[in-house]
Symmetry: C2
Subunit: 344 residues, 2 copies
Amino acid sequence: MTAITAAYYRGDKTFEVTQIAATPPKAGEVQIKVAYCGICGTDLHAYHGNMDARVGFERILGHEMSGTIAAIGDGVAGWSVGDPVVVRPLDPGAPNPATERGHDHISHNLKFIGLDSNGAFQELWNVPAFTLHKLPADLRLDHAALIEPVAVACHDVRLSGLEAGEDAVVIGGGPIGILVAMVARDAGGNVVISEVNPHRLEIAQKLGFDTINPLETDLKEAIENRTAKKGADVVFEVSGTQPGVDAMTQVAATRSRIVMVAIHATKPTIDLFQFFWRELKLIGARVYEPEDYEKAIAVVASGGVDAETVITDVSPLSDIQTAFEALDKSPTAMKSLIKVGTEA
Amino acid sequence: MTAITAAYYRGDKTFEVTQIAATPPKAGEVQIKVAYCGICGTDLHAYHGNMDARVGFERILGHEMSGTIAAIGDGVAGWSVGDPVVVRPLDPGAPNPATERGHDHISHNLKFIGLDSNGAFQELWNVPAFTLHKLPADLRLDHAALIEPVAVACHDVRLSGLEAGEDAVVIGGGPIGILVAMVARDAGGNVVISEVNPHRLEIAQKLGFDTINPLETDLKEAIENRTAKKGADVVFEVSGTQPGVDAMTQVAATRSRIVMVAIHATKPTIDLFQFFWRELKLIGARVYEPEDYEKAIAVVASGGVDAETVITDVSPLSDIQTAFEALDKSPTAMKSLIKVGTEA
C-alpha cells in the first residue's frame, strides 16, 4: 500500500489534509499522479457549504488538474505510464435521451468527477480512461491546470459560431469571463469586456482587453459606437445578473448570437420582444465536449491564454485550507492553483 | 382615370369604403388587380387603434393578398399582365448593418407595405416589383390569400431546423399557431398543440392535431409521456404569455430549439438556468424571407395547409367594416378573407 496525501472537504469551510492508502486502478481506469489542480468557482461554492447535500463530508474535491499517468488498469489501451494528461471530469452514466443523441456532456445521468465522486486534491487519483486527454510533452503542467476552465471557454466560443473579425462582448469579467474573452480573441474576435469590479477591470486591461464599466458608461451606446451602429455579433452573458440579462439584448446586433454561460439561480426578466424583432439567438452552453478539450490544449500550448497572468498564486496541498480562505477574500485573484505533487 | 374601390382606416374601429382614382404603376412597380386579402391579427390591432401613430387615418390596410398583374411599370422585366401573384410586403429601405449582412427582412429601415404604406384593401394596388412571387396557374386565389401567414409559419419552421420524425410542441393554437402546426406537420414533425381556449382546441382537433389543455392536464408530464421522457425537439412559443414562456422550457428536450414566434409586449421572467443546464436554444423569428414565400406557395398548392378549414368566412370589400367587427367578436373564426376583386 502506498500512502498518499489527500484533502477532504469536511463541511463548514473546512478541509482536512490527511494520509490515505492509495488504491490501484480498476479495470478501465488509470491512476494519475496529480501535478496541479486549480480551485474552481464550483469548489468555492462547495467550500461555502452550498453543495453539502450533493458532495457530502467525505469528498475529495478538485477537477481543474494536470498530471502524469502512474498506473494503468486492465483493459485500458493506448496509454503509457508517464504520459502527461488532463482529465475531462464527466461521466455520462447510463444511456438516456441526451446520450442517445450524442450529448454525453449534458447527459441526464451525468456525474461530475470531483463533485459526485472524488477529485484531484490527492496525490494519486483513479479515473476512467475515457476521461483522458494527452498533453504535448513540452506543455508546463502548471499551465495545463488551466485546460479545464479554458475548455469551458472553448465550448462557449465554439457554440457561439464566432468568426474572425466579428465583434464580441463579454458581460462579466471574472475568471470564466476572462478566459472566454481570451479564447474569443484567439479566434479572431474583436472583444470588449463589460465589468463593474475595478479590480477585474484592471486585470482585463492588463491582459490587453478593451473594457467598459456599465456603471460609468452607457454600454449600449459604447457598443454601437464601436460597431458603427451594428451591435455585437456575439454576446457572452457570464455575469449571472439581471443587469447582465438586460444588457445582453441591448448590445446584440440583429441576428446575433447570445451565449448563456452564467448560472442564473433565479429567473430574471428578459426582453423577448428583441429576440423576435431582431431575430436574436440565445444559446445555452454547459461544460465541454472532447473537441473543446483538444482545442483548449492547443490554445494553452500556443499561449493563446496568458497563463502567467491568469495564474495568480500556487500553494502546496498541505496549505489548501489557507489557499481557499485567501481566494475567498481576494478581490484580485484570478486562478489559484494547488500544487498537489511534491515533485518539482 | 380608372375609378376603383378602396377601404380607408379612419381611426376608432372605422373603415370608409370609397371610390378613388387609380394611379398607374411607377418605374419599378407593377399594378395588381387584388383578388382576395385576409385580415391579419396586425390589421385587427390597427383597427383597435393601437397603431394609430404608425398608420395614421389615411391608410389602406391589407397585406395577406392574392391577385393578378394588371399593368407593369417602366424597367420591370420578367412579369406579364395576367400573371397570378402574391406580394411579400417588405421594403428593406436604405442599406444598414442588417441588410449589409443579408437580412433584408429585418432591415433596420424596414417598411411594412400595408401598414407603413397603403395595402391591398383596394382593387388596384401598386407595389415594387421586387415584392412579387408568381403563383401556379391552378392555385385558387382565395387559398393563395393564405400564403403570407403561411410564409410566417414556414419561416418559423425553417429556423427551427425541424426534421422529419422530431417531436414539436406549438404553445398557442390561434391562427398563426395553427399554421405553424400545419407546416411543422407537413415537414414530418410529430406535432401537439397546447391551447387553453376550447373553441381553438376544437378547431385544432378538427384539423387532426393532438391537443393538450394545460389548464386541465400537466403539460410537462404529457410531453414526457409522449416522448419517452425526452421532451420536445422543437417548441414554438406563439402564445405571448408568461405561462407560455414558463411552459416552453419545461417541455423542451435537452439541446432542443425554442422558436420565439410571439410578440411579447412586456418582459416575462424566464428560466435561464434551463438554457444553461440543458443547452437549450432560443431562436427569434420574424416575418419571412423569399425562400419562405416559395415554400409557402408550395405548401398551400399541395394542400399541406387545409385552406378550406382555415378560411372561415369571405366578405366583399364593401362589407369590410362588418367583417372586422365580426372577426373581432368571433371565438371561432380562424381566417377571414375580404374578396376585393368584383370578378368571380
